[in-house]
Symmetry: C2
Subunit: 203 residues, 2 copies
């Protein structure tokens, strides 16, 4: 099995590394050079037609891409500790929270990065007004998540899950591109300190 | 168990209805009036803080939102026919394809609807140039998916899955808002005819 990835600040490969660290699984990452656009090469697109990392290549030659799908596969190989929930209801709720994190929290961060940040301006056509409008969308997302975190210490409730991994990599990437956590969001700030203190967060 | 939804053309409630039809499960939908913005009421937000449908309310009072999470839960209650894959690899690949459909195919359709379509203009601030740019993004997504469909009759390979349901509701919604399938995309056109011919597509 071969895991293609890239170092920080790329948020998606980091999700898989945190997941593996939580599982105690040692799986070296095969680095893909994003600066030379190796991920967009014909050779890499044969593994993932979208030219994205992470991508997991099995010994059979079959490949799995999409961070959450890769982790879902690894969860079946290494079930403990469960990161996608232990019961049908927990599994549905973790999946719900992963999706909420991606659609509500990650989407405006990605849109800001894609359409406003100077680092992507040379590569892509940007719609800057739209890009900048995502600052407010992300602020609203923080307000919503802060309220939701009244319920418990972690995103999906009382246990650390894949949803926390997705949210942690999102807010850290957002901070890196200039969108920090609002310190007045006390629950969100406390959650971030809590999950960042886990050894896996260094991955 | 109570399933909150809304009739066509809302794409997400339709996904659950198609899923239930494929399973042969009869579960009536409790309609939420989108025109009077019932989904944004305090009462409904107590069930789903994002004010979105579909939402599934269990007899215990717990709720699950996000279409794919709801279907994942229902898959555990009604495993046959499997709509999320039968093996670890199939499950990962279906999840990968669901995500690709949502991020690659659905995202530009949603952005065009949100930022360009006259029907949403009265409700929301639109960035029309950005909205319109998604016509080309969606065309590229169709080209990519058309090539991928060389592999087999369905999105995730040789069996009908949740990924097909997500893609069908996406392209039908896109057609409804003025973004039809390019008829030159022969594989995509044939796939659409194939999945639309299933009785579940009428749901």
């Amino acid at each position: 099995m071969k895991l293609y990835g890239a170092p920080m600040p790329a948020p998606n490969p980091r999700r898989v590394r945190i997941f593996l660290a939580e599982k105690g699984v040692d799986m070296p990452e095969t680095p893909v050079n994003l600066f030379t656009r190796e991920h967009k090469s014909a050779e890499f697109r044969a593994k993932n037609s979208l030219g994205q990392i992470p991508t997991l290549e099995l010994d059979s030659g079959e490949t799995i891409s999409e961070t959450v799908a890769i982790c879902r596969y690894l969860e079946e190989l290494h079930p403990d500790p469960a990161m996608f929930g232990r019961t049908a209801l927990e599994r549905a709720q973790v999946d719900m929270w992963i999706r909420r994190v991606e659609f509500v929290l990650m989407a405006p961060v990605g849109a800001y990065w894609r359409h406003f940040h100077p680092r992507t301006a040379a590569l892509l056509t940007q719609y800057k007004d739209y890009g900048e409008s995502n600052v407010e969308v992300y602020a609203n997302a923080q307000r919503w998540l802060d309220r939701e975190l009244e319920r418990g210490p972690f995103i999906a409730g009382d246990f650390f899950s894949m949803a926390d991994i997705c949210a942690l990599s999102t807010v850290d990437f957002a901070t890196w591109i200039g969108l920090p956590i609002d310190p007045e969001k006390a629950n969100l700030t406390a959650w971030h300190a809590r999950v960042s203190a886990r050894p896996s967060a260094a991955a």
